[in-house]
C-alpha cells in the first residue's frame, strides 16, 4: 500500500496552481535527496502509513519513502524490470511487488525516479504498522545497507479502537528507542517544542484536506477521490506534512475545489474535465500504477467518478476525526500511527466503507484487489459482501497489481467494469420503469 506522487501521469489539459505546487514539492524532495550526500545531510528511509514525518523533521533528516519510489517507477514503467531483477536475486514471485521494485532499484544502483542516485540511508525508521511486509522489507534493506535501524512496533487494532496499553507502548518506544536513535544518528537534540510547531502546521493542512475529501458529497462530485486523490494525498502523506508549504497547498486546493463546486464542474481527468457523472463509486484498495492512465480512463470514459476511497486514507483516517495535536505531541503521533487505515480491523474497515457508500450516495463499492498486498487483500471479499448487505448496493471485484505490469490485464478488468456499469444501469432502468 502506499501513498503516491504523481508526476508521470500529469494532466495535460488544465493546470491548476495546486497541481504545479504539488509537482514542485515532489520534485523538490527528490532534489533534496539527490543533494543530501553532498550537503552532508542525514537520510532516513521510512514508510507512508503511520509515518512520523514531523518527528523526523525535528532531527533535520531528509526523508526517502521507498513506496513512493516504487510508485514513481511504476508510473514510469520501470518497475517491471526492477521486479524481475529482485526475483532473479531470489525473491519470491508471491510477495509484495513494492518490496521487489524497491530492492530491484537498489540492486541496480539505487537510481531514483528522477534519474539521480538516491542517497543511502543513515537510518531506517521502521514504522511497523498496518502491514507485516514492512518489517521484512526493512530487514532486507538493513541487510543490504548495514545501517542503523529503529523499529516502532505499532500494535494492530484487533478490537474496536486502540487500547491505552497499545498507545502507551508506542509512546514509550518513541521515547526510549526511536528518539534516542534519531538523536544519535542525526546529532540533533530532540526539542519537543519544535515538534509542536510542526504538528500545528499538520493540523491546519488536515482541516483543509478533510474539507476537500468531503466535497465529493456534492453532485456532481468536483473531485475524483481515488485517481485524482493520488495527486492530492502526496504532500500530506509524505515528506511535507508539518511544513507550511503543505498547509499552503491544501488551502489552495480547497480554493480551487470551492470554485469547481460553484461552477457545478466535475473532476479533472487527464483528458480534461469529466462532463457527465453517471456512476458514483466507492473504491477499496490501492490502484494500479503501471497502467494508471489506462485504468483511470476505463472509469471516466464511462462517466464513473470515485467519490470516496480507502486508499486516500492510508496515510491517516482524518475524515473520521483524527488530527495531530500540538498539545499532546508524542501521544498524538502514536495515535496517528495506530490509526492508519490498514491497522484497523476488518469490522472497522467495513464500517468506514459502509459510511462512505451511504454518505457519499454511491452506486456501489468497487474493490480493486492487489495481488501482492495481503494487508489490503486478505478479507476483501468478505468486506464486499458485508458492505453489499448493509447498504443494499451492488459490489464489484477486480484484481490487478500495484506495480507489477504482469498482473494488469486490461481486457479482464474492462470486462468486469463494463459488466458492473451495465448492471447498475439495468437496475436503475428497472427501478425507474
Amino acid at each position: 500500500m502506499t501513498a503516491p506522487t504523481p508526476t508521470a501521469a500529469k494532466p495535460t489539459v488544465q493546470k491548476d496552481r495546486s497541481m504545479a505546487m504539488q509537482k514542485a514539492m515532489v520534485d523538490g524532495n527528490y532534489a533534496r535527496l539527490a543533494r543530501a550526500e553532498a550537503e552532508r545531510r542525514k537520510v532516513a528511509y521510512t514508510f507512508v502509513p503511520g509515518n512520523i514525518n514531523e518527528l523526523l523533521m525535528c532531527f533535520d533528516l531528509v526523508v526517502n519513502y521507498p513506496e513512493i519510489n516504487a510508485i514513481q517507477n511504476g508510473m514510469r514503467k520501470k518497475s517491471g524490470r526492477y521486479i524481475m531483477e529482485a526475483e532473479k536475486a531470489g525473491h519470491s514471485e508471491d510477495v509484495c511487488t513494492y518490496v521487489k521494485a524497491d530492492i530491484g532499484m537498489m540492486l541496480k544502483g539505487n537510481i531514483g525516479p528522477n534519474d539521480e542516485r538516491l542517497p543511502n540511508p543513515d537510518v531506517l525508521m521502521l514504522s511497523y504498522t498496518g502491514c507485516f511486509t514492512f518489517m521484512k522489507w526493512f530487514e532486507l534493506l538493513r541487510h543490504h545497507y548495514k545501517c542503523e535501524t529503529t523499529m516502532l512496533h505499532v500494535p494492530y487494532e484487533g478490537g474496536s479502537g486502540f487500547s491505552k496499553n497499545s498507545r502507551d507502548y508506542v509512546v514509550k518506544q518513541l521515547k526510549e528507542t526511536v528518539i534516542p536513535t534519531l538523536e544519535r544518528v542525526s546529532g540533533v537534540k530532540f526539542d519537543i517544542d519544535r515538534l509542536r510547531e510542526y504538528l500545528k502546521e499538520s493540523q491546519k493542512a488536515e482541516e483543509n484536506w478533510v474539507w476537500v475529501l468531503e466535497s465529493a458529497k456534492h453532485k456532481p462530485s468536483p473531485i475524483d477521490s481515488y485517481f485524482g486523490a493520488i495527486y492530492y494525498i502526496s504532500p500530506i502523506f509524505t515528506a511535507f506534512r508539518g511544513t507550511p508549504t503543505a498547509t499552503e497547498y491544501y488551502a489552495e486546493l480547497r480554493k480551487e475545489v470551492e470554485q469547481r463546486i460553484a461552477n457545478g464542474q466535475g473532476p479533472i481527468t487527464p483528458e480534461g474535465e469529466m462532463k457527465n457523472e453517471k456512476y458514483r463509486l466507492v473504491v477499496e484498495g490501492p490502484p494500479n500504477y503501471t497502467s494508471f492512465r489506462d485504468f483511470w480512463k476505463m472509469f471516466y470514459d464511462e462517466g464513473a467518478v470515485i467519490v470516496a476511497s480507502s486508499y486516500a486514507k492510508v496515510g491517516g483516517t482524518y475524515d473520521f476525526g483524527f488530527r495531530h495535536d500540538p498539545d499532546h505531541p508524542l501521544e498524538s503521533v502514536a495515535e496517528y500511527c495506530l490509526n492508519c487505515y490498514t491497522n484497523h480491523n476488518l469490522p472497522e474497515r467495513v464500517r468506514m466503507l459502509e459510511t462512505y457508500v451511504n454518505e457519499y450516495q454511491a452506486d456501489g463499492l468497487l474493490i480493486n484487489s492487489i495481488k501482492s498486498c495481503n494487508s489490503f487483500a486478505a478479507g476483501q471479499l468478505m468486506m464486499m459482501k458485508e458492505v453489499q448487505k448493509r447498504t443494499g448496493k451492488p459490489g464489484a471485484f477486480i484484481e490487478t497489481d500495484l506495480v507489477d505490469p504482469r498482473y494488469f490485464s486490461p481486457a479482464n478488468v474492462k470486462n468486469r467494469l463494463e459488466s458492473y456499469f451495465q448492471m447498475i444501469d439495468q437496475k436503475r432502468r428497472a427501478t425507474a420503469a
Binding site: M84, E87, K88, A89, G90, E93, R406, S409
Partner: protein
C-alpha cells in the same frame, strides 16, 4: 568395462541409452526415443529397454546397472534411480565438457542447474507449478498454428517483430495467441514471442541460481528447438549474463546419458563395497 543403460521416463517421451563405461572412456552404444502418446509409460519403458538391447544384440543379463531417471522411480526392473537434475548435470557435461550450467527444458518443467567441472550439482531451481513456458504449451500452439515441431526453430528465427505473450497462464495465453492471429500477427512473430517469454523465464532461473559464466548446456526436448536457443542467447545478453547457450544433437538424451554414467559409478562403488546389485 561396465555396460549400463539409462532410461529417462519423461512426460512425453521415453529416452533410452546403452553405454560402455571404461576407466577413461565412455561410449554410447545405442539410443532410442519412444513417444508416449497415450500409452502406458511403464509398459513402454520395458519395450524400449528390451528393444534397445535387441538392437545392440544384448540381453538384460549383460547389463551391469539399469538406471532410471525422470519419472522412473517405480519402474520395477531398474537397479537404481537418480533424480533428474543429477542426471542432466552429468549428461550435459558428457555432451560438452565446458558446460557449467544446464537448462533442462522438457515438456512440463524447466530446470536450471549449476554444476562444476566434475558434474557436481551446485544449485538448481525448477519453474513453478503455474507456467506457460513449457514445451507442452509450445507444442499446442504450434499445432494450432499448423507449424511442425521441427519448423518452429527456423520460423521463430525469421521473426521481425515478435509479439510477447502476456498471460501467465497457458490457457489464457492460448486465447492471447488466438487474438494475435485474429490481428494477423504472423506465426513467426508469435512463436518468437513465446520463445522470448520462455527464454526470459529460463534466464531468470539461471540467474537466480547464481550461474554467470561459462557454457550453458541446453538439454531436454526443447534443446532441439533452435529458435528457443537463439532467444535464450539473446535474453542472456540482454540480462547481462555472461554465458553462451549451447546445444547438442543428443541433448534430448542428456538425462538418460547421465543416468547411465552414474549407474556405472554406482555399480563400481557397490562392487567395492562388496554388495553387487544385479540388474534384473
Amino acid at each position: 568395462m561396465t555396460i549400463t543403460t539409462g532410461i529417462d521416463v519423461g512426460t512425453g517421451l521415453i529416452k533410452t541409452v546403452l553405454f560402455r563405461v571404461e576407466d577413461n572412456s565412455i561410449t554410447c552404444l545405442a539410443k532410442r526415443t519412444d513417444k508416449i502418446r497415450q500409452r502406458d509409460p511403464f509398459k513402454l519403458t520395458e519395450e524400449a529397454y528390451d528393444g534397445l538391447l535387441a538392437e545392440a544384440g544384448m540381453t538384460r543379463g549383460d547389463i551391469a546397472y539399469c538406471a532410471t531417471t525422470g519419472e522412473g522411480e517405480s519402474i520395477p526392473f531398474h537397479t537404481g534411480h537418480f533424480y533428474s537434475m543429477t542426471t542432466h548435470a552429468r549428461g550435459a557435461l558428457y555432451l560438452d565438457g565446458e558446460a557449467r550450467a544446464v537448462l533442462d527444458i522438457g515438456a512440463l518443467h524447466g530446470r536450471a542447474i549449476r554444476i562444476d567441472e566434475r558434474g557436481k550439482v551446485l544449485d538448481y531451481k525448477m519453474t513453478s507449478q503455474c507456467a506457460s513456458g513449457s514445451g507442452q504449451f509450445l507444442e499446442n500452439i504450434a499445432r494450432y498454428l499448423g507449424v511442425a515441431q521441427d519448423e518452429i526453430g527456423e520460423l521463430s528465427k525469421s521473426a521481425d517483430n515478435p509479439e510477447v505473450v502476456s498471460g501467465i497462464c497457458a490457457v489464457l495465453a492460448e486465447t492471447d495467441v488466438i487474438n494475435m492471429v485474429s490481428r494477423s500477427i504472423s506465426a513467426a512473430n508469435i512463436l518468437k514471442g513465446i520463445h522470448i517469454s520462455m527464454a526470459d523465464r529460463l534466464s531468470k532461473l539461471l540467474k537466480s541460481i547464481g550461474a554467470n559464466e561459462g557454457v550453458v548446456m541446453a538439454t531436454g526436448g526443447l534443446a532441439l528447438d533452435a529458435g528457443l536457443v537463439a532467444a535464450l542467447n539473446e535474453s542472456m545478453q540482454q540480462q547481462k549474463i555472461n554465458m553462451t547457450v549451447r546445444t547438442h544433437p543428443d541433448s534430448i538424451y542428456a538425462g538418460a546419458i547421465g543416468a547411465a554414467i552414474w549407474g556405472a559409478y554406482r555399480y563400481r562403488k557397490l562392487a567395492e563395497l562388496g554388495h553387487l546389485a544385479k540388474a534384473s
